[in-house]
């Protein structure tokens, strides 16, 4: 191979998708970008050059086809701005979070629709676009790229190569934020099929407490691609409750990577509700950097039509004396396809780990499909780790119980389906959100 050819190979991306992500990244404004941020973007672009788009031969991707995401031609989010009325947003607002809401439209921050006045002083709730305009990026450097788990992941790097918006929340030490914080992303296909790469960074200082609701919704059923990265740093003795609701358009695609690091005595409670998108993936990685940590990664997936959803989680117990819990429930109807992979790592010397994982799947249709793989990798002996997985349909005896009490079969079925799912919602402490999700589930179960 000649030298010229060699250099060309090195600078040329291997796939149209990565080439696009690099192009978009290079086309973005560097104004106001702190040096570390520009570096971060550049190195992600460089890594993208050598990365392959994963295929069915990759263990982590074997059950889903990424075609709809990687074969599409995208408009840059910054060129796909869509005006939205307050009326559209109003019905999606969460009353408890009225004074602590950030609204994003097609991945771009909408200051007029946002409001942060109920937050106590000292709590920093802003966005990357504001940080670029107003400064203050340097103190955020250590909270970006907090774990290298997805260092070779195409989508993580596509986000890194592009992100210039998304929420930033910094809660100072000892601050308890009572008001839940609502991050609302609305997507629309009006201005073309765009790709947005929001990055939400949540930093909870020592002994602080906060609740974050991260929501993705649509008002026009458009086609677009959200490629999200969340980074959550939970300080010592801090508590973060993180509810994610993904109700993207059923023509849209959603890819999410949620990185979490947990310091000593911290608590992280996450609930991910995935209902929308034609093709979605929601991955979480939690690293236990301290002892006596409690981590919960719950999830609910309810999909139908030809929806495809994949959840991959990993709980990485690097140090001793922690607890982790996971309850993942999935309902698949019509021709939908759900994939789950839950890894629990217990590293050498990470003794006295108590870890419990359960994955339950409900198949409602003949053509629905579930692939699940709960996975334990344990290198320490003094541990109590268990996992379970079940796949099945509604139980005949439960159905019979309701029928024998005069309930019609259709109602009985939807009630049981609802009850199966509702368990996940019980722990959501924001009442209006929980009620909204419950009625949404009820409606879907009745369909």
């Amino acid at each position: 191979m000649s030298t010229a050819e060699g250099t060309r190979k090195e600078t040329m991306a291997r796939h149209r998708f990565t080439a696009q992500a690099i192009e978009h990244g290079k086309a973005r404004s560097v104004e106001g970008l702190a040096p570390w941020w520009a570096d971060f973007r550049r190195s992600a672009q460089q890594r993208l050059v050598s990365l392959d788009v994963p295929g069915p031969k990759d263990e982590e991707w074997r059950f889903i086809k990424l075609g709809p995401i990687v074969d599409a031609e995208y408009v840059m989010d910054s060129q796909a701005a869509v005006e939205i009325d307050e009326a559209v947003i109003e019905k999606r607002r969460i009353p408890e979070a009225r004074g602590a809401t950030l609204v994003f439209s097609n991945g771009r921050f909408q200051p007029e629709l946002s409001n942060t006045q109920s937050l106590p002083e000292g709590v920093r709730l802003t966005t990357w676009s504001q940080v670029a305009a107003e400064g203050g990026a340097d103190e955020l450097e250590e909270y970006v790229g907090i774990a290298d788990y997805w260092e070779d992941d195409v989508f993580y790097n596509a986000n890194g190569a592009n992100f210039d918006d998304g929420a930033v929340l910094v809660v100072p030490r000892n601050q308890v934020v009572e008001t839940p914080i609502h991050l609302l992303y609305v997507g629309s296909g009006e201005a073309g099929e765009y790709a947005a790469h929001p990055r939400n960074v949540i930093v909870a200082g020592e002994s602080s407490e906060c609740t974050v609701i991260e929501e993705y919704a649509t008002f026009d059923g458009g086609t677009y691609f959200h490629n999200v990265v969340d980074e959550v740093s939970v300080g010592a003795n801090a508590t973060v409750r993180h509810v994610k609701v993904q109700r993207d358009s059923t023509n849209a695609r959603h890819m999410a990577r949620n990185l979490v690091t947990l310091s000593q005595d911290s608590v992280y409670e996450a609930t991910a509700v995935n209902l929308g998108a034609e093709l979605s993936r929601n991955d979480s990685y939690a690293r236990f950097d301290g002892t006596n940590v409690e981590c919960t990664l719950d999830g609910l997936v309810y999909i139908d039509g030809r929806q495809v959803h994949d959840t991959h989680t990993a709980m990485d117990h690097a140090l001793p004396d922690s607890k982790s819990y996971q309850l993942q429930k999935t309902i698949v109807d019509d021709r939908a396809h759900s994939v789950f992979n839950g890894k629990i790592f217990v590293r050498q010397d990470a003794q006295r780990i108590d870890s419990n994982q359960l994955n339950q799947n409900l198949l409602l249709s003949r053509r629905a499909q579930v692939d699940t793989k709960p996975q334990l990798e344990i290198f320490a002996d003094d541990v109590v780790c268990s996992h379970g997985a079940t796949v099945g349909q509604l139980q005949d005896d439960q159905l019979f119980y309701l029928l024998s009490r005069g309930m019609e079969e259709e109602n009985a079925r939807s009630l049981l389906t609802y009850a199966f799912a509702a368990e996940i919602l019980e722990d959501i402490q924001v009442d209006s959100l929980r009620q909204r999700l419950e009625s949404m589930l009820m409606r879907q179960a009745r369909k």
Binding site: L364, K373, P374, I378, C385, H387, A389, T390
Partner: protein, 478 residues
């Protein structure tokens, strides 16, 4: 406490000796010529030679898989001796004619080859390296109509059966090691149970690897016709050598309507020394197909040996109401690595499968359960229950679980459970407090942990297996 454990764990490999039997051995390395030579040596019919050659051609196009959860030095396929057999001697009618050196080897292993010493009702087809040297109880089986012989004999005497079934469950294209085996397999056991016959005794093969650097590639084929039943036992030990030896066997089971096959294995090959030097690579493809309705295949295994174990005895449940079972105890110690489990593929209606897997890891070993439960769209009303428990002994070993569950039928029910723990201080205390010493206590706890599997083993095997675990694990837990 812990010194006790070490003593227990460090018991020497009791079957580790090497006997000098005169052997006829091919030069190491593999090419088409080697395969033709093996085939010619055995006077094989053309279909078999073609089968081997096709497999070899296919094998050349394949790359060695590397997804196993184990680290090992890849075998050098050019250094393996693909054929080795004891020097040819005239056919024997009784054991008196067998080379006394060989008999001595079996004696040391405690295998009662002599009929009078034999466990009642067990016929032994002993494979010494590649060639079957003695088959006992043949006459009695013949009366019942059961064919139990070496694959070589079967090729000569029942070529139509071999042609029909060989490669029907594990095609030569299946995987890298199955392709290699298909190309070079030297011998193995063949069982055919005709319609309506319940095999009058438990069949047993004792495999032995003897010549240094000999790859052992046996092929086992068991066919059970309608309403027939057979129970087959396979036990393995190997002498102590420093270099790794490859063992790539293929086992195929076919159960027709209402037939039942029970296949039990105790594997105690040389696991390498305490530093992880030497030991057998046990890369085996075992699969059974429940072809007929109401048929049943049951795998029971006790895996205690080998440096690296990589095998998944599987069931393809084609017939309606067919049943697949997998009961496994896998014990790893020192530097041993095991990646084992099963695959249950449900195709027929109301098919049922049960998976019980118990993994015990000690020393710096790694023990993985990897399994697949697949419910295809036609598997109406199918059921699966899986339970995978791991026990860790010491804080430098690992236990891993990778269960794959793929469901495409809403009427199918799948349940999977797994847990990982160690022998609790309280459990031990309970025993000690009642005057039972630590060694016995551990042995009892381990027996209890594995009892669901031991229950499934034939009587003689259960005893042997329990003793084996005892030997391998005396004094664990710190």
């Amino acid at each position: 406490m812990s010194s006790n454990i070490e003593n227990f764990l460090d018991r020497p490999y009791e079957a580790g000796f090497h006997s000098d039997v005169e052997m006829e051995t091919f030069a190491p390395g593999l090419d088409e010529e080697t395969i033709r030579k093996i085939s010619a040596k055995k006077n094989e019919p053309d279909f078999l030679l073609q089968f081997r050659l096709k497999a070899y051609e296919h094998w050349k196009t394949m790359t060695e898989p590397d997804w196993v959860n184990a680290e090992y030095e890849k075998p050098n396929f050019d250094e393996i001796i693909y054929y080795s057999e004891p020097k040819k001697k005239p056919k024997k009618d009784s054991l008196d004619e067998v080379d006394p050196a060989i008999l001595e080897v079996y004696e040391k292993l405690g295998i009662p080859l002599h009929e009078q010493k034999m466990l009642q009702n067990v016929a032994v087809d002993a494979v010494f390296d590649s060639v079957s040297v003695a088959t006992t109880f043949k006459k009695k089986l013949k009366e019942a109509g059961v064919i139990f012989c070496s694959v070589n004999e079967a090729v000569e005497e029942y070529p139509e059966l071999v042609e029909r079934y060989l490669g029907s469950v594990v095609p030569y294209t299946d995987n890298f090691y199955a392709a290699l085996n298909s190309a070079v397999f030297s011998d193995g056991s063949f069982v055919y149970v005709p319609k309506g016959v319940t095999c009058p005794m438990e069949l047993s093969t004792y495999f032995r690897i003897n010549t240094q650097d000999t790859g052992q590639f046996e092929r086992t084929l068991i066919i059970c016709e309608d309403d027939a039943y057979v129970s087959y036992l396979e036990g393995c030990t190997a002498p102590q050598f420093d270099t790794n030896q490859l063992h790539a066997a293929v086992v195929e089971l076919v159960a027709l309507e209402n037939a039942e096959i029970k296949y039990s294995t105790v594997q105690n090959w040389y696991a390498g020394d305490e530093e992880g030097k030497g030991g057998i690579y046990n890369f085996v493809t075992k699969r059974g197909v429940c072809e007929g309705d109401n048929s049943k295949i049951s795998w029971s295994q006790v895996e205690t040996g080998s440096a690296v174990t990589w095998k998944y005895p599987s069931c393809i449940l084609k017939g309606d109401n067919s049943v697949g079972e997998f009961y496994s105890v896998a014990l790893t110690n020192h530097h041993q690595q095991a990646d084992t489990g099963t695959k249950m593929v449900h195709i027929g209606k109301n098919t049922k499968s049960t998976i019980i897997s118990k993994g015990i890891s000690a020393g710096v070993s790694q023990n993985s359960y990897r399994g697949l439960v697949k419910m295809t769209p036609s598997a109406e009303g199918a059921r699966n229950y899986s339970e995978c428990d791991s026990m860790l002994i010491g804080d430098r070993c690992g236990a891993h679980t990778f269960p794959y569950i793929d469901v495409r039928n809403p009427t199918a029910q799948v349940e999977h459970e797994a847990s990982t723990s160690r022998i609790g201080e309280e459990q031990l205390f309970y025993f000690l407090q009642r005057g039972i010493d630590e060694e016995d206590a551990i042995s009892m706890i381990i027996s209890g942990f594995c009892k669901d599997v031991f229950h499934e083993l034939p009587m003689e095997f259960a005893v042997e297996a329990q003793a084996l675990l005892g030997i391998k694990l005396e004094g664990s837990v710190g």
